[in-house]
């Protein structure tokens, strides 16, 4: 009796797992397939090094260098702003909170992470962009800087939670010996936890970069979306917002459509490359 149920259970589980993996693999293959069609028409080199994006002209100009730069630029600005704040908060959390407080602060960080990107974009538009226009007297507040600031707030929770997880472990490991030696908490934080957490911090950066580069809605609302060479105080465009804005009008099967998939592919490859770079950096750090 149970044997039959067991057998059914086994098969069902295996089927479902297979199904979900197939979907995932299918998606990846699908993206490849649709992008490759594009690369038959336009060479890869031209695509990623050219600077003009104008799919409505004929012949079409389809090159996304500016947009790639825009994506990278705004993500790095975000990381530069968010990293010190995130690491600092991580230290604060792992050293000075425990038990109930830990869960509560974790909860708050999770809530921050759960705020949808449209809401962030909404606030960014009304607060950051308005601030630039009203107080700093920019002709228009949409800029890479606005996008960077907004994005940094969005990736903060990721940095904080990854860092504090690592730091928690390190802190626990060393607490005993540290207390025995009579060192202060601050000393522990500065000299032990922080240096040992390098790997965790790098992991946090990877996670945060991935999130930042793939972010669509919030960035779209505050960056102005112009495919020009990005400068800090000028407008720019990122790959996700390019796809979001133009996918509505690119016919399935047209060159434009394949170009959008190709830019998505480029984005994913960039993420992969960054992941690999950081993986090697992580490996290179020797922990005691």
């Amino acid at each position: 009796m149970y044997k039959l149920i067991d057998k059914i259970f086994d098969t069902v589980i295996k089927l479902l797992t297979l199904f979900s993996l197939l979907i995932l693999v299918f998606i990846i293959i699908f993206i490849f397939k649709e992008s490759i069609v594009f690369f038959k028409e336009v060479s890869i080199l031209k695509f990623i090094t050219g600077r003009k994006w104008n799919p409505l002209k004929s012949p079409t100009d389809l090159s996304i260098l500016n947009i790639i730069l825009g994506t990278l630029y705004v993500s790095f600005v975000a990381i530069i702003i968010a990293l010190p704040i995130g690491v600092g908060t991580g230290l604060l959390l792992s050293i000075y909170t425990n038990g109930k407080w830990k869960v509560i602060t974790r909860g708050i960080i999770d809530i921050l992470a759960g705020i949808p990107s449209v809401v962030y974009g909404f606030i960014g538009l009304l607060v950051i962009v308005k601030f630039f226009e009203a107080v700093l007297d920019f002709p228009t507040g949409e800029s890479v800087l606005a996008g960077g600031i907004l994005l940094s707030v969005m990736i903060l929770p990721y940095i904080i939670s990854t860092c504090s997880e690592t730091m928690d472990n390190i802190y626990k490991e060393n607490l005993f010996s540290s207390e025995a030696l009579g060192t202060s908490k601050i000393y522990m934080a500065r000299k032990i936890v922080l240096p040992e957490s390098k790997k965790g911090i790098i992991a946090a950066v990877i996670l945060a970069l991935g999130r930042a580069m793939g972010e669509t809605m919030a960035v779209m609302m505050v960056m102005g979306n112009t495919p020009i060479s990005p400068k800090l105080l000028k407008r720019a465009q990122t790959i996700p917002s390019l796809i979001a804005l133009e996918m509505g009008m690119a016919e399935v099967g047209s060159l434009h459509y394949h170009a959008l998939f190709a830019s998505g592919l480029v984005l994913m490859i960039m993420l992969l490359i960054i992941n690999i770079i950081f993986y090697y950096i992580k490996k290179g750090i020797h922990v005691r």
């Binding site: 295996k14 797992t17 809401v119 500065r190």
Partner: protein, 279 residues
Amino acid sequence: MLENIKELLFKIWIILSGATVLFLTLFIFGYIIKHGFRSINIEFIFGNPKGIPLGAEGGVLPAIAGSLFLTIIACIFASVLAISTSIYIVYYCKSKRIENIIHTIIQCMAGIPSIVLGLFGYTLLVVNLKLERSLLAAGITLGIMIFPFIQVRIEKAFREASSTIIQSSYALGVSNSYTFLKLILHICKFEIVSAITLAGGFAMGAAAPIILTGAVIFAPIPKSLLSPVMALPFHLYILIGEGISLEKAYATALILISLLLIINMVSMVLIFRKRRSTE
């Protein structure tokens, strides 16, 4: 002397960071609550969009209903698959290589930007499978988006479930399915539900994947799986993007984050109860 200064700076740094984070959280919520509160009334929550242009007056009931339905479908789709995959990896999979391959695939999945998933969902589900812009297409796309999120957490929960109980169960000759359903599921139920609700919150707030697969500017409460829906994040985007109504936008944002807050609290409470039950 220098040491003391350095130490002081360090202290200032981490306290300032923590204060900034706290300030940001309070600011975000406070800002939305302050501006959105006055537009919240019974009519807003339970009425349909009205006015010229549409949305400037009236309510957002179809959007609330649409978002809830979308989240439910996404959660069902994702959790069934995620639970099965986790069961397979933790309890059935013998080879480490296969396990690594599966993990890599899932990690790749998590790295795909949500907009690309939306594009994929549109081409596959809406055009090729002819599902049309619908609750189903959008729900599945969202489900794919949150699948890695749930799977990772559930796998962790399974692994952390006490292996002694499980080993003893097998030692006693209890079958796989019985072990799983009666024991493991019971032990991990808080974490599983918590992961699903968190993911649901994530899905509720996502606008990018549903733009092409099911969200429309104007629709009544969805009557079938195949009808298009309004969704809160998309509605917010339209209200602010098209300059239809700032107050309504604030109110929509408020409703959205309130719903998410409730979901997050439920999730937190579940974790608390789990702690209590294992202490």
